[in-house]
Structures are given as C-alpha cells and as structure tokens.
C-alpha cells in the first residue's frame, strides 16, 4: 500500500478531509451534514494517513490519545445537556445565544456544543480502533 504516490498525497488528502469534516460538522444544522458524518470523515482521514505513513506520525499529529478525544467529546455533549440546569429548563433543552461579530451575528448554542461532542466521540473511538488495528503486533 505504501506506494510513493500514496505516501506523498496522503498528508494533503488527510488535511483536506479534516477541513472538509469540520465544514460538514458546522453546516450540519441547516444543510446535509452534522457531527456524526463529520466524525466519520475525519476518522477516515486519520485512517488513510495511518495506512500511508504509519501509525506513529498519526499519533504524533493527534497529540492526545484518541480515546481521550472521545472522552472529551462525551464530556462536552454531557455539559451541553447539563447547562440547562442553570437556566431551570429540562435536561438537553437547546439554549441559543447570538453573538454580534463584524456587523453580522453568529448563533452559538448548546446544540452546537453537543454536535461537536458527537463529532469528537466518533473521531476518537473509530480512529483509536483503526490505529490499533494498523499497528503491527510486534513493532
């Protein structure tokens, strides 16, 4: 699998895919996309990078253990649901905030935080499985 072409292209391909995955994640609320699909795209980006260049560069690039990323995601999603406690509304109620920026306004919400959590859980879990499988048993 480790042809020269694949090895050369893989880093660029992976970065593009991750960029795309974030795009898909953020646009998900109004257009096709969302945290789950975005997470899958990012996970396949890491898988491709790993197949092409080996596992250790991916682990270095990720910096954190993938399972830690996954855990952070679950924490973020839970926090997004729990924030409602401070506003005395039921668990998981979406809370919205419009932040004015450069004359336009950006809607920030707990729902978005929740979706980012989903994204991180999917990326973390699947990447950690894929990387563990890619590692040779005795290397």
């Amino acid at each position: 699998m480790r042809t020269l072409i694949f090895r050369t292209v893989a880093p660029y391909l992976a970065s593009l895919m991750i960029l795309f995955s974030i795009f898909v994640l953020l646009r998900g609320h109004n257009e096709p996309g969302g945290g789950f699909i975005g997470g899958l795209i990012a996970a396949s980006a890491f898988a491709i990078y790993g197949i092409a260049c080996g596992v250790s560069p991916v682990r270095r690039a990720l910096h954190f253990h993938p399972m830690a990323i996954s855990g952070t995601g679950l924490l973020a999603s839970t926090a997004a649901g729990m924030l409602s406690i401070f506003f005395k509304v039921p668990f998981m109620t979406g809370l919205w905030l419009d932040i004015p920026l450069f004359g336009d306004s950006i809607a920030v919400s707990t729902v978005m935080l929740f979706d980012i959590g989903v994204y991180l859980v999917v990326v973390g879990s699947i990447t950690s499985i894929a990387l563990a499988l890619e590692e040779r048993p005795n290397s």
């Binding site: 998900g28 609320h29 109004n30 257009e31 096709p32 996309g33 969302g34 945290g35 789950f36 699909i37 899958l40 795209i41 996970a43 396949s44 898988a47 197949i51 399972m67 996954s70 855990g71 995601g73 679950l74 999603s77 839970t78 649901g81 668990f91 998981m92 979406g94 919205w96 809607a107 919400s109 729902v111 929740f114 979706d115 959590g117 989903v118 859980v121 999917v122 973390g124 879990s125 699947i126 950690s128 499985i129 894929a130 563990a132 499988l133 890619e134 048993p137 005795n138």
Partner: protein
C-alpha cells in the same frame, strides 16, 4: 416524623460508624491504649440507652425517625421496647468490655486500628438491627452485620482457613438474609405495614393470611442461618478462626442472636400457630442436642464453646417456639445469662491462649496459681453456665424447666431434650473452666502468668454481672426480664423467679440435670472417644457438604458458560443470524402478516438499472472472490451502490453517512482480517457451506419481507409533520435529520455516543489482548484449579 428534628438517638446510632472512621488514626497515635478511649463510645451509647429503662419498664415504647424515601414509604425509624432495649444494652455493654479486651489481646498487632474499626462498625450494625423499626432498615443492618462479620472472621487474611471460614459465614448468613428480605417484603405486601411498630399491632392478620406458610418459611430461612440452627450450624464453629474478641462478641453474645431476636420480635404476629409450635422446637431441640454432642468431641477450648453456643441458640429457638409464658421468660433469662457467661468464657479461653500459647484442653493444666483472677472469672461463669446458684444461669434454667414441663408428650419430650442439653453444657462449662486450671502443671507450658488488666477486666466484670443480676433479681426482672418478655409475648408479663429455691418440679429436674452432668464430667474422656468414633462412622457432615455445594456450583457455571460461550466466532455469528431470521420470520408466519406482492414498476430508468447492476456485480464478486480481502472490497461495491440509491431518492444525509460507513467498514474489516492471520481462502466443508447459505438466505428473505411489509403499512405522518413544522421555528435548524439527532431526540444521541465510546474502549482492549502472550489470559477451568491444589 416529617421534618428533620435532631435526635440524640439518631446521633447515637451513627456514633459507632463515626468512631470506626477515626479508630485507625487514633490507634496509630496511642497504640493499644486507644482501646481506653474507643471504649468510651459504646459506654456512652450504653449510658444513653439506660436512660430509657425507667420509661420502658413502665410499659411504654419509644419510637422516632425520619422519612427516607417518602415515595416508597421507607423510613429511617427506630423502635425501643423491652426487647430492643435489652439487646442494645447487651450490645453496647459487652461491646465496651470487648473493645478493652481487644486492646489487650491484639496488643502490638500491625492491623489493630483496622480491627477496632471493624468491630465498631459491627457494633453500629448490630445496634441498628435491634433498633430498626422499618423493615428495609432492619434488612440493611442485618446484611451489614453479615458483612462486618465476614471482615472480622477473615481478619487474619493471610491464612487460608480464615478466608474460607469468612466466605462460608458470608454465604450462609448473607444467603439467609435474602430469604429474610423476601419474607419481609411478603409481610409488607400482606399487611401493608413496613414498620415493626405497626406490624406488632396487626393482631392475627399474618397468621390468618394464606401466605402465612411462605412468610414463615422465609423468615425462618433468615433466622436459622443467622442463629446457626442445625443443619446450617457449621459456619459458626468455623468462624472461630477469628481473633477471640470477635468470637466472644459476634459469635456468642450478639450477632448469632440476631436470628433469635427476629423470631422473638415476630413472635406476637407469627407465633402461636401449629407450624410455629412444631417447627421451631424441632429445629431448636435438634440443634441443642447436636451442638452439645459435637462440643464433647472437641479438645480446643474455643471450639467447645462454639458448639455450646450453637446448642444454646437451639435452646433459645426451642423455647421461643414452645411459646408458653414461662417458656418465653425462660428464653429471655437464658439469653441474658448466656451473653454474660459465654462472653466471659470466650474471653477466658482467649486469655489462656494468649498467656499459655495453646487452647488444647489436653495440653493445659495447673494454671490456677499462675492466673487466679482469670480462674475466678472462669469458675463463676461456668457455674452460671451449669445453671447452679448463686448465678443468673440458675434463674434461667429453673424458669426453662418451669416453662417446658407439662404432662403431655410434646412438653415431656422437650423437657428431656432440655435436660440432656443442659447436662452436657454443664460438662463443657466445667471442662473449660476447671481442666486448664486444676491438676498438675504441664511442663511444656513454661512460665505462665496473669494477663494484663485489659484482658481480665472483661471476664471479671461479666462474671460479677452474672452474680449481681441474680442476687438483685427483683430489680433485674423489673428493668430487663419483664419488659423484654412482655415485648416477646405481645402482652404484659412479669417474672418472679429468684435465687430462693422452690420445692417443685423445676428443682427436681435441675437436680437430675446436675446428677447427669457430674456423671458425664467424670467420664468426659470416654464420651469424647465415643463421639469421635461415631462421627468417624457418620462420615462427612454439612461442613463438607458446603464445600461440595460450592464446588458443584462452580462446575455447573463452568459447564453452562462453556456451552453458551465456546469461544468460536462462527458459532456466535450463526446463532445471532439464525435468531435474526427467526425473530423476523416467525411472527410473520404466526400472525399471517406476510407482505402483499409488490407492484412491479412499469419503467426503470437507465441509471437506476445501472446502479442495481453495479450492486449485483459487487455481490457476485463477493461470492466468487478467491480470497477474503477481495470479498471485503467487493462487499463495499454493493454498499456504495445502495448509497447511490439513497441519494437518488432524496436522502442525502443517509447516503452521505452510508458512504462513510461503507468506506470505514472496508478499511477496518480489511485491517482486522490481515491481523487475524486466517488462511486466505475459504476452508469450510461443503456441508457447512450449505448450512451457512441457508442461514444467509433466510436472513435476506426476512429483511426483504420486513421492508416490503413496512412500506406497505399506512404511514403515520404525525411525527414527520411535527418535525417539519417546528424544526426551524423551535430548534433553529433547517436540516430536520440533524435537528432531530442533536435537539429533539438529543438524549437518545447522548446515550448512543456513550455506547460508541464504550464500544471503542472494549474493541481497543480486545485488540490489545491479542498482542500479549497467549497464556496471559487466566483459565478458569475448575478442573485445573483442583489439579493445582
């Protein structure tokens, strides 16, 4: 009861647990002298409860408590009457002495702090048990005593025998606790009461209920295991592996009496029935005789005492079951007397062991001059145990005979049982108290001297109590015996028995008992030889049976696990897919819910035909693939074709996800396959191939039929209308699918991502296991275990 009112009784119930928390630190600071400070805790509690004596002896009851789970009508409430007050005083009074004694007995032990902590926790649990008004609280404390007893028996956890005894006690008493829980829930269900105080006023509600026998059996299941009734008595002698303070406290004075307490507590509502009058004396009487006979066989001081404890518990159960007013009074008197003399005798056995280095009665002798204080305490306690004046045991035995003696077959039989049991206990009492002290000094013993004050204080005070309670019997009866007997009986009774002997049947029976006892004491060596021979002839008893039971359970579970989990992937997959096919096809067949034949579309557009052709090509190449990798990739072709179809029919989100899932499955499957080191080609025999084909066709048919059926059913649009209408206005999102995922049904997604993460962790650890050496996974085959042993 509604609002939280601070109460001293509540604080006092918590105090032992709080003290248990600080005991290790205190012991680190003060070494064994921490006992003096820690003993203040039970002493203070004892003081608090003795404040209730006046009120209770006047016939009052004290209740209190807080709501715990109001929705389930569960309260944290206590109930103080004559029965629970006497128990509380015994627990804390003897507890004070035991804490002091422990300080002397385990002086210099590295884990003394932990020991204090355990014993205080036990004290709190036992106190909670006798104070509990609500059933659930009673059960929790009941199990807590089992757990703390487990910790204490296994205190010397480096020894195999201790660990076994601890586990055995936990299994037997904990298992009995489950019976009790079922019994209590049934009582709750039948009467609607969840509190003892209310239940005791329910009259004959339980006795008349059709569930009476079930309740009766379940309650006995709890009481008989806890109070070591034959044939569940075996755990108690084994529990002698515990340090002697534990044996003196838990396994003679308090915990083992919890079963008797339960029977006495429920006597007013469960008693006075045919079953009660027959079953309890039957088991109690058998336990009494078996216990004393087994005690004769022993030469170890502690084991002799342990078996007589078993028989004393039998006697108490027998009397409670017999149920006449005098019998109940006898039981009450004997219970108090037993706590005093047996606690003292256990402590004496501990002192002898501590100072002389052995508990074997055949190796001991002539210690009287070396240990005069211990000897005095032992002698006084043995006299009480033998039922001779001027000690409290005499009152108890007289009352027992007065209660049992009737000119009827049943009364006569039980009287004979009681005489034999008492005579044999007379023997054991004096063997323990006289043999080590009298006779010639055994040379091997070396220079033995009296133990420190921490050790002999307990037995001396208990022996004194045996004497004083008997001499001032009117006061004892007014404060302790009569209120407690009234609580057990359910109506006011008063005891009058005193040290002044009355000429009558009980005195005659006592004289017979003493005569038999003296005769047996002289011939004790011969009796012991006889018992050893008899037991040898009988073979294995319930103790061995327990081992067989445990081994059988382990073997059975191993077989079952081996059958359900043979560890072969193909087997699992086959079972799963067969079940999938059956669970879809069977309901359709049973309810005749087959889908109608779908209408064949008139025209198929060219691109649809092309996509379907791609899917078909993918499937064929899976079937014709020479190696696994090709098959996996070909499976991907079919997946992509399906994703394209989704796209064409207006489900971009679904299609998108399908693409990604398909890509990742191919990658991960391929990676997994390369690691599994399977043969690249299919090696299944033809028969298996055909079988697998049938399974896969059945699954496929099932899914096709299911999908057809689903699309043919009328479509309820309520939900889709709702989501379409409100997606943008409520949830600020135009993509309905995503809005449902992250907002409307967010909690579902939340659960799902948690599952994804846990699954990821599980897969990760499975992959890691593969990289370790094969023998790193421990085998659980009991056969191998046996071989190693």
């Amino acid at each position: 009861m509604n609002s939280f009112m601070p109460s001293t009784t509540f604080a006092v119930l918590l105090l032992p647990f709080i003290a248990a928390l600080f005991a290790p630190a205190l012991t680190r600071l003060l070494k064994h002298n921490a006992a003096w400070i820690l003993a203040l805790v039970p002493a203070a509690i004892c003081w608090h409860f003795s404040g209730f004596l006046a009120e209770i002896s006047a016939g009052e009851v004290v209740t209190g408590g807080y709501q715990w789970v109001p929705a389930l009508k569960v309260n944290f409430s206590w109930y103080i009457d004559g029965l629970s007050l006497t128990f509380a005083l015994l627990i804390t009074g003897i507890g004070t002495l035991i804490v002091l004694y422990s300080g002397g007995y385990l002086k210099g032990h590295a884990q003394l702090g932990r020991f204090f902590s355990f014993i205080l926790m036990f004290m709190g649990s036992m106190l909670g048990l006798v104070m509990s008004d609500s059933f659930l609280m009673f059960f929790i404390f009941w199990e807590l005593t089992s757990i703390t007893s487990f910790l204490l028996i296994g205190f010397d956890n480096k020894r195999e025998a201790s660990r076994r005894a601890a586990l055995q006690a936990l299994v037997v008493t904990g298992g009995g606790g489950l019976f009790l829980l079922a019994g209590l829930l049934l009582i709750w269900n039948v009467t609607g009461y969840s509190e003892m105080s209310l239940l005791l006023r329910s009259g004959s509600l339980l006795a008349d209920s059709p569930y009476y026998i079930a309740i009766f059996v379940l309650v006995l299941g709890g009481a008989f295991t806890k109070s070591a009734q034959f044939p569940m008595h075996f755990w108690l002698p084994n529990a002698m592996e515990a340090p002697t303070p534990v044996s003196a406290y838990l396994h003679s004075a308090t915990m083992v009496k919890a079963g008797v307490y339960l029977l006495m507590r429920l006597n007013p509502v469960l008693g006075d029935t045919m079953a009660w009058h027959i079953v309890l004396p039957l088991f109690g009487g058998t336990t009494l005789i078996v216990g004393t006979l087994l005690a004769i066989r022993q030469t170890d001081l502690k084991l002799m005492l342990a078996y007589t404890t078993v028989s004393s518990l039998g006697l108490l159960v027998m009397l409670t079951g017999f149920g006449t007013e005098k019998a109940i009074e006898g039981a009450v008197l004997y219970l108090v007397a037993h706590c005093l003399f047996k606690g003292a005798l256990f402590m004496v056995a501990g002192i002898i062991d501590h100072e002389a280095g052995t508990r074997d009665v055949t190796k001991l002798g002539g210690l009287m001059t070396a240990m005069p204080i211990t000897f005095a305490a032992a002698l006084a306690s043995a006299i009480s145990m033998a039922g001779l004046p001027p000690f409290f045991g005499f009152l108890a035995k007289e009352e027992i005979y007065a209660g049992l003696w009737q000119v009827s077959f049943w009364g006569g039989l039980l009287t004979i049982v009681a005489i034999v049991g008492n005579a044999l206990m007379f023997v054991i009492g004096f063997v323990v108290a006289l043999k080590p002290f009298l006779g010639r000094r055994k040379l091997k013993l070396g220079n033995v001297h009296e133990g420190p004050v921490l050790l002999w204080l307990g037995p001396v005070l208990l022996a004194t109590a045996s004497l004083l309670t008997a001499i001032f019997s009117p006061m004892t009866h007014r404060l302790i015996t009569s209120p407690m007997a009234s609580a057990v009986e359910g109506e006011p009774v008063s005891a009058y028995i005193s040290l002044v002997p009355h000429i009558g049947m009980p005195l005659l029976l006592s004289l017979i008992t003493v005569a038999i006892g003296v005769f047996a004491y002289i011939n004790v060596a011969r009796l012991r030889a006889l018992m050893i021979y008899a037991l040898y002839k009988i073979g294995w008893g319930p103790d061995k049976g327990f081992d067989q039971f445990i081994r059988g359970t382990v073997r059975l579970s191993f077989r079952v696990t081996n059958f359900i989990q043979p560890g072969r992937m193909e087997f699992y997959m086959k079972v799963i897919f067969i079940l999938v096919a059956v669970s879809i096809l069977l309901p359709m067949a049973l309810f005749d819910e087959w889908p109608a034949m779908p209408q064949w579309p008139d025209t198929i557009s060219r691109y649809e035909a092309v996509i379907m052709a791609i899917a078909a090509v993918g499937l064929f190449s899976v079937l014709y693939a020479k190696d696994r990798l090709t098959a996996i990739v070909s499976l991907g072709i079919q997946g992509f074709a399906v994703a394209l179809l989704f796209m064409l029919f207006g489900a971009p989100d679904l299609s998108f996800t399908q693409f990604m899932v398909e890509t990742l499955s191919v990658v991960i499957l391929a990676l997994a396959m390369t690691r599994l080191r399977l043969t690249p080609t299919d090696h299944r025999p033809l028969k298996e191939k055909i079988f697998d084909t049938i399974i896969s066709l059945a699954c496929a048919t099932a899914f096709v039929l299911l999908l057809l059926k689903v699309t043919q059913l009328p479509f309820d649009t309520t939900l889709s209308d709702f989501f379409t209408r409100y997606s943008l206005s409520i949830a600020h999102g135009a993509n309905i699918v995503n809005v449902i995922l992250v907002d409307f049904r967010g909690t579902d997604t939340w659960g799902e991502i948690a599952v994804v993460m846990v699954a990821g962790l599980a897969i990760l650890s499975l992959i890691r296991i593969r990289t370790r050496p094969a023998n790193a996974i421990a085998a659980n085959d009991p056969a191998e275990e046996d071989e190693r042993l």
